[in-house]
């Protein structure tokens, strides 16, 4: 699978991995033709466990020598032995791995290695702890902190170095949901405020949606999709990606007319309106998130709405998903899903074969050029 121009960033690449492969014994755990991490972006590598994402981070972060391939930093080839290059980076892992000693000693560790004088160290440690919301905890024992606090210390220990590149390997996955939600928001805020270039590895797509500028999805050691976060996360190009991010695979259609940024897209035997600057004749991928689709009875009065798309569709299946029902709909070869509340589902009497009116806005229709190779990136 080759990386297309689509997968490259607009900015300057800081780290580039070329033709990377990592094998453990005889098992190939990673095989990537090209991976870019660009200046200032938060690039999320998303994939299920065992997909090779942490291996990719360790190879790019010069923490582990890949079996094959090159890592370039600012265009120059480098390797694990290049300590100066490693000094530009700092990592936070799934487990905070705090060292024995105080919180202050932990945060100061990297500064000490860089020969920063003690007075500066004290000041910078205090500032870093403040940034992660742990002011004044310098003298506490690092090993008696709660999970959330420990992970904040780990983040401070990395941020205090003012690294050009921050490597984050599942930094939040050990935490319980409540603390995790708070920390995701904090991390996202800190990352964007710092303007740090970050490589963020996670298996959690909600986390990815919050922090990512760009997303790369890995599956069995290979890149199956890479691109801007909102595109990758809303327009799955193949069944596997769709399944992984919990959507139906993107629809394939063609633009047949455009008018002031709104395109008429033919999908199967139906016509859908979507917002896109792409011209007539382009083959496109179309994605509609289930939560953007509203359902109404066909006979009754459809409320006045600005939604351009109004289709009568047949219910194929109703599936319980937490507090909502996920309704699969089809009409003339167009298949979409809607997410409705349990109450609304009951009121509409939804079941297999029911006919309903589906409404969704043109702005809710995600459109991107279709890759030339089906399923490719």
């Amino acid at each position: 699978m080759s990386a297309s121009a689509h997968g490259r960033c607009g900015g300057t690449p800081v780290i580039v991995g070329e033709d990377l492969a990592v094998r453990y014994r005889r098992r190939t755990v990673l095989e990537v033709d090209r991976f870019d991490l660009c200046d200032g972006e938060t690039h999320v590598v998303l994939g299920p466990s065992g997909s090779g994402k942490s291996t990719l981070l360790r190879a790019l972060g010069l923490l582990e020598r890949p079996t094959r391939g090159r890592v370039l930093i600012d265009g120059a080839e480098t390797s694990v032995g290049d300590r100066a290059a490693r000094m530009m980076m700092a990592a936070v892992f799934q487990n905070p791995y705090l060292f024995k000693g105080t919180v202050g000693e932990n945060v100061a560790y990297g500064l000490k290695l860089r020969g920063v004088p003690k007075a500066d160290r004290t000041e910078r440690v205090a500032a870093a702890l403040e940034r992660v919301g742990l002011s004044g905890t310098e003298r506490a024992s690092a090993l008696q902190l709660s999970g959330g606090e420990a992970q904040r210390v780990a983040l401070a220990r990395a941020l205090v170095l003012e690294p050009r590149i921050l490597l984050l390997d599942e930094p939040l996955s050990y935490l319980d949901p409540l603390i995790k939600r708070r920390l995701v928001a904090d991390f996202s805020e800190i990352l964007s405020a710092e303007g740090v270039t970050s490589l963020y590895v996670t298996h959690d797509q909600d986390e990815a949606m919050v922090v990512a500028d760009r997303v790369t999805i890995l599956h069995e050691g290979r890149m199956v999709r890479t691109g801007p976060a909102d595109e990758v996360m809303t327009l799955p190009t193949d069944e596997w990606v769709a399944d992984f991010i919990g959507m139906d695979a993107a629809l394939r259609g063609r633009i047949t007319a455009t008018d002031e940024g709104i395109a008429e897209i033919v999908i199967g035997g139906e016509l859908v309106y979507g917002c896109t600057p792409l011209p007539v004749g382009v083959d496109v991928l179309v994605g509609i998130r289930p939560e953007d689709v509203m359902l109404f009875e066909t006979g009754g009065g459809i409320p006045h709405s600005s939604a351009r798309n109004r289709l009568v569709m047949r219910v194929e299946a109703v599936e319980r998903r937490g507090s909502t029902d996920r309704v699969s709909l089809s009409s003339n070869g167009l298949k979409i899903a809607a997410s409705v509340s349990r109450a609304a589902s009951k009121e509409l009497g939804l079941g297999r074969g029911t006919e309903v009116a589906a409404l969704f806005k043109a702005t809710a229709v995600r459109v991107a050029p279709a890759p030339s190779v089906p399923g490719g990136v």
């Binding site: 060292f99 560790y109 990395a158």
Partner: protein, 245 residues
Amino acid sequence: MEVLWNAIVEAGRMLFSGDFTVYEIVFLSLRVSGLSLLIAMVIGIPLGYLIGSRRFLGRQLVMVIVNTGMGLPPVVVGLLVYMFLSRSGPIAELWLSISGATSAPRWLFTVPAMIVAQVIISTPLVTGVTAAAIGSVPRELRLQARSLGASAWHEAALTIKEARRGVMAAIVAGFGGIISEVGAVMIVGGNIEHSTRVMTTAIVLEARKGNFGLALALGFILIGISFAINNGLTALQQSGGRYER
């Protein structure tokens, strides 16, 4: 019971009467075992770190050798060192062929010979226990240090610090194995008065002569010194406990 009590009294009398011979024996014991321990640490701690933290070709073999070494009977070590260092041994032969002299110097029945034997006894102990302690520190901790800019040396220092209690236990084991050992120092040292007589060999000698009281008194001094040293090492091992897991 009276024998025990008398021995304790005698031990105290020997220690505080200013009996030069007793001091000499005690200090020689400490010198031989102390120096041996130091050398064993210099070899054993780095080697233990490598075995505990790296995967390399032949690691398995090194581990088997170390583990076997941990259980070597001191008397056998003494015997082997004796044969190697004797005037007709391989080292003497080598020395003769290099120097061109007609006779080799006497290495046996000297303090250095005793140190050689004790280093061979205590190095595997220090290495093996250190390796186990280092092995219990997660690999990812070194990865974390590396990701913050640590060199291989920094990683080693951090790991040893993390495994400090285990490494201290290795030192205690290494010291225990030689301060109380009699077989090797007896064979290689020869228990020569004012020269190679240490506490354990002196105890053997007095017991053989039938001076059980004196032998026991020396035994109590040995136990007392062991206790004091281990007390110090343990205090060091347990210090800073409030920052431990």
